[in-house]
């Protein structure tokens, strides 16, 4: 009897491929193994075998993926990620690689994640632990390599922004196995100096950019604990913008680069100049205001003084003198008038007493022969000759009888 279905090679191959493609594990898989037979074709595509003791897996890196990768050498232990599918024309299954890294690095990252989780659980990353950096530091500590560019960048930035700050350098290696204990010792030495000799306001812990392995000292647990234990606040500036090490998480302040750390540690000198100028302006305004008030007060006094001054008094006296003069003059005038009036009175009376006026009224003056005026009967006897004067002349007369009263 013939079989029910006879499939073509292509059909069966396609079926096998569909099994691979629809498998969730095979479509997204991480693998570790050793690289062998690595070649890169002129097309740019890479071919190699990933193997271990029990099996091999043919692998492909397409040109576009290969461009972004550090390509492995034969014998390298690697960790890869990709999809396993079927190359029908070759009758083989293949791993199509989209990520490849040295196996050692993968291990490092695992350790990193474990340590980070542990320290975070201990509270070493807590915001409350982070101390503020003084705004105008007097003295800064710096922990970095003495020969690398990072130190020059830091010191130049400090010079430009805030050249009056005092810097104490504790140089250390910043990569390799000897780096973590050296960094720990440097932090301890600066803390001791700060406590016993000259206080430090902050410590900058820095290193320039590099590959993940080169920055690894800053993921070391001993360094993390030394930062946490530092009495002086620590500012980290490690690697590039996107590098985050465990030291960065523990630090009081993280900067993306060494220059960034120097910037965060200091105020901008120009802003401080402006602040000093503003204070001076305030002082000047106050003094101007006070001087103006004083001037006004003195003006007021001057006005009062002028009113009370001798010149004023003189003017008043002159007026008084004028007054007196006027009154005096009046008095004199009155007195004279009164005198005249009196005199006129007297004059009238005098006039009344004038003999000729008396005679004119009919009175006569009688005189004896020897000229004596007769004013009494005793002066004459009857028969005496007398002279009688009247207003317009005189005549003789003889006394006849007397009427003694």
């Amino acid at each position: 009897m013939p079989p029910a279905n006879i499939y073509s090679v292509s059909q069966v191959s396609a079926y096998i491929k569909s099994l691979f493609v629809s498998d969730m594990l095979l479509a997204d898989v991480w693998l570790s193994g050793e690289v062998s037979g690595f070649t890169q074709a002129s097309s740019g595509h890479c071919y190699f075998t990933l193997k271990d003791a029990g099996a091999i897996l043919k692998s492909v890196i397409w040109r576009t993926q290969a461009r972004g990768m550090a390509l492995p050498r034969n014998g390298d232990a690697v960790i890869v990620h990709g999809a396993i599918s079927v190359y029908e024309q070759g009758g083989a299954y293949q791993l199509y690689v989209d990520h490849l890294e040295p196996a050692g690095v993968g291990q490092l990252w695992l350790e990193f994640e474990r340590l980070k989780a542990r320290l975070e659980a201990e509270g070493l990353f807590d915001d409350e632990r982070k101390r503020p950096i003084p705004a105008r530091p007097v003295r800064l500590g710096v922990v970095t390599s003495p020969t690398a560019a990072a130190l020059r960048d830091i010191l130049r930035t400090l010079s430009q922004r805030y050249g009056l700050v005092d810097v104490i350098l504790a140089p250390t290696p910043v990569q390799g196995d000897q780096a973590p204990p050296a960094i720990v010792a440097a932090l301890a030495a600066l803390n001791r100096w700060s406590a016993e000799r000259e206080p430090l306001d902050a410590i900058i812990l820095a290193r320039g950019g590099g590959a993940i392995e080169e920055l690894w000292a800053f993921n070391d647990e001993r360094v993390a604990r030394a930062i946490a234990a530092s009495a002086v606040p620590v500012i980290t500036g490690v690697g590039h913008e996107t590098d985050f090490t465990i030291a960065d998480f523990v630090a009081d302040l993280r900067a993306p680069t060494p220059t960034g750390a120097a910037t965060l540690a200091t105020p901008d000198g120009r802003e401080l100049s402006a602040a000093v100028a503003a204070l001076t302006a305030r002082a000047e305004r106050q003094l101007d205001g006070h001087l103006a008030d004083e001037r006004a007060r003195v003006e007021g006094l001057a006005v009062r003084l002028r009113r009370a001054a001798p010149a004023a008094r003189l003017a008043t006296n002159r007026q008084r003198v004028d007054d007196l003069s006027r009154r005096g003059a009046l008095a004199i005038t009155n007195a004279v008038r009164q005198q005249r009036a009196r005199l006129r009175g007297e004059g009238l009376r005098l006039t009344a007493l004038d003999p000729s006026r008396v005679l004119a009224r009919g009175y006569a003056i009688v005189a004896t022969a020897d000229g004596a005026v007769v004013h009494s009967v005793a002066q004459v006897t009857p028969g005496d000759a007398v002279r009688v004067r009247v207003a317009d002349g005189a005549f003789g007369a003889t006394v006849t009888t007397d009427d003694r009263r």
Binding site: P134, R136, V138, P146, A149, L151, R152, L155, L158, S159, G163, L164, V165, D166, V167, I168, L169, A170, P171, A186, A189, L190, R192, W193, R197, E198, G269, L272, S273, A275, V276, A277, L279, T280, R282, A283, E284, Q286, L287, H290, L291, E294
Partner: protein
């Protein structure tokens, strides 16, 4: 240089002098004296800010286990 007042201290004293000036109720002599003090402090502040030479020292371990801070100059020749 270690006896020098810090910028922080000088600026703080200047702020205090200006604050007293602004608080008022001062005689003209007192105002003038405070103003002179504020101006002198401003000069000192500016002198500090104008300093371009960064003072850098390096911690050195001494034979007796203590540390000393020696001048560090080689960074400028780079």
């Amino acid at each position: 240089m270690p006896d020098e007042k810090s910028f922080e201290t000088l600026y703080g004293e200047m702020e205090e002098a200006v604050r007293q000036l602004e608080a008022g109720d001062l005689s003209l002599e007192e105002s003038l004296a405070l103003f002179a003090r504020a101006t002198a402090l401003a000069e000192q502040c500016n002198a500090l800010l104008d300093r371009a030479e960064l003072r850098v020292r390096q911690l050195m371990a001494q034979p007796d286990g203590s540390s000393a801070a020696e001048p560090f100059e080689s960074w400028q020749n780079g």
